[in-house]
């Protein structure tokens, strides 16, 4: 029995297979509409989430399965002090597969150790969010037709963003990747990541202004720069506009570049950019459902 704890749990060959299945679902959804008839997904969400939980629920529903679960810890037995290990033993009796989000890092792994059913990590604190990374990879692959030979710009808060770190780890397994890290000094990627890139001879540059590197990018991954991450207000005021993507900056970009964002967006991408064909962040949400459908089928060993 397999679980999904980290995006690196799957080899690139296994990911290819998963993405091919997701693409097949996208092209022919009716073929898969009853693939999970009689199966139950438990969504155990110990903290609120809108997109991830609904995406899982939509995925299972589209496969013909049913969904049970809870959407915050207060309405679960955790409020009575039940451990994750005990909860998953019980859930294993009710469902065939479980997607778990928990504020404590490593909680889904504890569940996986005791579970009788496959467990999917749907986000554990600031640690991992593997289905977001699979969604990012699926989107890139679908829109660019490949997962290698890119100049990838990652922009905004590169220090604290778990989606950014996961995506870097996932992308370096493909050939020809070059990174441009666009962030203020305070929010640069952690040293352990740049050390790893140096060790693997993967080219990268760290820059402050988005405009300076925009023409080079094949892919731009935007994240939010939060005011509370800065040491002083002056720096925030001075730098915040550098990390807002608008149509003016987008004029410098390649015509086939794509813009991704893990969402929710606040103001780091102007609404005017939404109509640009390069804006892929809403399509990402759609790919997120396909990739979760493919993941559920894969972990349940269901072949259609």
């Amino acid at each position: 029995m397999r679980h999904l704890m980290s995006p690196l749990d799957f080899t690139t060959e296994e990911l290819d297979k998963l993405f091919n299945l997701a693409a097949s679902i996208e092209q022919n959804p009716s073929k898969y509409a009853h693939a999970c008839d009689g199966k139950i997904l438990a969504t155990c969400f110990y903290e609120p989430s809108t997109r991830t939980r609904l995406s899982f629920e939509s995925a299972m529903t589209k496969l013909g399965g049913r969904v049970i679960g809870f959407s915050d810890a207060a309405s679960s037995s955790a409020a009575k002090g039940e451990s994750v290990s005990d909860t998953i033993r019980i859930i294993s009796c009710y469902a065939d597969i479980c997607a778990m989000r928990h504020p404590k890092e490593g909680a889904p792994m504890v569940a996986a150790e005791k579970s009788l059913i496959p467990v999917i990590n749907a986000g554990d604190g600031g640690h991992q969010h593997p289905t977001q990374t699979l969604t990012d990879l699926m989107t890139i692959r679908s829109l660019q037709g490949r997962l290698g030979n890119f100049t990838v710009g990652l922009c905004g808060d590169l220090k604290f963003g778990r989606t950014v770190h996961s995506l870097i780890h996932a992308l370096i397994r493909y050939p020809g990747i070059r990174f441009l890290f666009i962030s203020p000094e305070e929010l640069r990627v952690p040293d352990y990541i740049t050390d790893m890139l140096k060790e693997k001879n993967i080219p990268y540059e760290e820059v402050i202004r988005l405009e300076n590197v925009m023409p080079e990018l094949d892919l731009l991954y935007m994240t939010r720069v939060q005011k509370e991450r800065f040491f002083n207000e002056e720096d925030y005021v001075r730098l915040k506009d550098f990390y807002v993507l608008n149509t003016e900056k987008l004029e410098l970009a390649k015509q086939d570049m794509i813009i991704l964002h893990p969402l929710p967006r606040v103001n780091e991408i102007s609404v005017e950019v939404d109509n640009d064909p390069r804006a892929a962040y809403f399509k990402q949400a759609q790919y997120g459902v396909y990739v979760r459908m493919a993941l559920i089928l894969t972990l349940l060993n269901i072949e259609v």
């Binding site: 504020p103 404590k104 490593g106």
Partner: protein
Amino acid sequence: MLNVGKIEEGFVLDHIKAGKSLDIYDHLQLDKLDCTVAIIKNARSEKMGKKDILKVECDLDLLDLDVLAFIDHNITVNVIKSGEIVAKRELTLPKQIKNVIKCRNPRCITSIEQELPHVFILADEEREIYRCKYCEEKYTPTTK
């Protein structure tokens, strides 16, 4: 020069960093063993200047060498039988250690889950980096 008598069967842990013998005493839980232990602090050493030595008279199976290797794999372990050194054991960093150190990340599941062991995995042998199995937080030693 202080003289401490020979032991008949057990271990002599030599080349302990000066001042660290009590940490090792604690980690090896020698207080729980009913055996003779000699702690020698700040002994003169050609190699180290000063060093600590622990002499433990106990059954040869009672000492957890993985724990010792985690604390300091440069320690020399002399195995004593019938009052003589019969072997010197090389220490290598263990791949995994359980319930020796605790994860200090307050966001880690180990901080709330009942009776969950604290497991650390050797993530980088060259740099001697251990990470929590659950949250992958790097262990930063304070007393090591």
